[in-house]
């Protein structure tokens, strides 16, 4: 059994805020839920499936289901895959719809790390003392930033990747962000700007890192009959994959991500090849995240990512693989420190023809959204979603 063609993304909403000290997290979840319902042309009473992840306040889906006062729930899923959760949850919603467990699925994300002053990237945090690896990582000062830096340093050693090549990923994102009035970093930057910005964790510079923002987003996924009755152009889910990539008891290769497993699974289900993809949303917590996933998804050979991303190859209208045309996490926003939701949203905009005209990909019929959650350099979740314009 496959999810191909069994469900459609009918509603999307990206919260306009980037800084929300005046709103609660639950309130942001509610605002994005209502926004996505309005986009789809549906109402709260239509929702019979609710999907959320670790950013939802309270345990699992319970608190937000009550806050939203969802009256007809018959399917829930709070699978936590970090920032990749929402890419995977879109596929989980399609699975549930394919099995008849629900007809209209709501997926929400929201958070306010910027208002709460979370030292996201550079301070070691002990999340859960029962995590079995905690004693063997926390004393050494593992942070989000250096966890990704360890992968970048190894990729440079193994394949000759350079800081300048990584910088091109930020440059491309900034070319897109200049057209997004809500982007936190709307100015076009150069390779020199990136490599001359302060080093955060060798070899990653400040401009290799994503922004920290408040905000959120939501999706409505529905069964085909409902999608065809709505006004917005239907976007069909045709393939998905997910996995956890970890340290394999000490026998790991840090230059490969979970996309090497979730990507091929999604392509196989969709029956398409990387070369068929017109637009790709690629999770961009750091520049290295993008480079490794692009290789693992098969857009280029392993180790050739540095050459592939250079010279504007990711810029819409210029390069072969237009990516993150909203400016992505690197320039636009990274709500709740989780970028998977906005990856799906921008892919849907591209398929609908609703992206900014300056970055809209011509005849965009097939798009991919790729999420990586948690940490590239230790253990992470990966989710790949392939969508098609009807």
């Amino acid at each position: 059994m496959s999810i191909k063609g069994k469900a459609y993304i009918a509603g999307i909403f990206e919260h306009p805020t980037r800084h929300a000290p005046d709103k609660s997290v639950a309130q942001l979840h509610a605002e994005v839920a209502l926004g996505a319902l309005a986009d789809a042309g549906l109402t709260r009473d239509d929702i019979d499936g609710f999907f959320c992840a670790g950013d939802a306040p309270g345990p699992g889906p319970a608190s937000m289901a009550e806050y939203l006062n969802l009256p007809k729930l018959r399917h829930v899923d709070s699978t936590e895959l970090g920032g990749s959760s929402y890419v995977a949850l879109a596929a989980h919603a399609a699975e549930a719809i394919a099995l008849g467990k629900c007809n209209v699925a709501l997926i929400t994300l929201a958070g306010r790390p910027r208002s709460e002053g979370v030292a996201t990237g550079t301070t070691p945090r002990l999340r859960d003392p029962n995590q079995p690896e905690a004693a063997f990582e926390f004393p050494y000062g593992l942070t989000t930033a250096n966890g990704y830096a360890l992968a970048a340093m190894r990729h440079m050693y193994q394949y000759g990747t350079t800081s300048e090549q990584l910088a091109w990923i930020k440059v491309a994102a900034s070319h897109h962000a200049q057209h997004n009035p809500r982007a936190m970093l709307p100015d076009v930057v150069t390779v020199a700007d990136v490599v001359n910005s302060p080093v955060i964790a060798d070899p990653l510079h400040r401009l290799d890192c994503c922004v920290i923002s408040d905000g959120g987003g939501a999706l409505i996924v529905v069964k085909p009959e409902i999608a065809r009755s709505l006004k917005k152009p239907p976007v069909k889910i045709i393939g998905a994959g997910e996995t956890v990539k970890h340290l394999s008891a000490g026998t790991f290769d840090l230059t490969t991500s979970g996309a090497a497993r979730s990507g091929p699974a999604a392509f196989a289900e969709a029956g398409v090849k990387p070369a068929d993809i017109k637009y790709a949303s690629i999770y961009d917590s750091f520049t290295i995240t993008v480079l490794i996933q692009i290789e693992d998804l098969g857009f280029c050979e392993k180790g050739a990512g540095g050459k592939f991303v250079a010279d504007g190859n990711l810029i819409s209208g210029v390069g072969k693989l237009p990516f993150n045309t909203d400016g992505g996490g690197l320039c636009n926003n990274h709500p709740a420190n989780r970028g998977g939701m906005t990856k799906v949203i921008e892919a849907v905009r591209q398929l609908r023809g609703e992206a900014h005209p300056a970055v809209q990909v011509k005849d965009c019929a097939l798009a991919l959204a790729q999420g990586t959650g948690m940490q590239l350099g230790t253990r992470h979740c990966s989710a790949t979603l392939i969508m098609e314009r009807e």
């Binding site: 690896e133 926390f138 360890l150 340093m153 190894r154 964790a201 060798d202 008891a249 000490g250 026998t251």
Partner: protein, 129 residues
Amino acid sequence: MADTRKIPAPIVTVETQAFWNAARDRRFVVPTCAACGKAHWYPRAVCPFCGSDKIEWRAASGRGRIYSYSVMRRAKEPYAIAYVTLAEGPAMLTNIVECDFDALRVGQDVRVVFHDTEDGPPVPMFKLA
């Protein structure tokens, strides 16, 4: 270079008590499965390769090679985090200490040193061999 960083104590559990007991004696042991013969990291009571619970805490050579590293220069007290591939096989997260951060390279040989923690057993770190 002297390393005066304060290292938080590792959380000692019933599962890893033997490892930390050895560490208190400045002995570096690597969990190795008596059934399949493979060493693993991080330490666990169940072999991640074959599922056996016959885990032995074998004395390790203390030798390894830098697999990757990152220097946190902007930290209050800069430090180098690294993966070191042990001579026994698995790679482990650690710090490279007593070194010139600018001279660190992937592929350098290192050897284990124990570093005191705030109020727990010392943790294994490495310096250039």
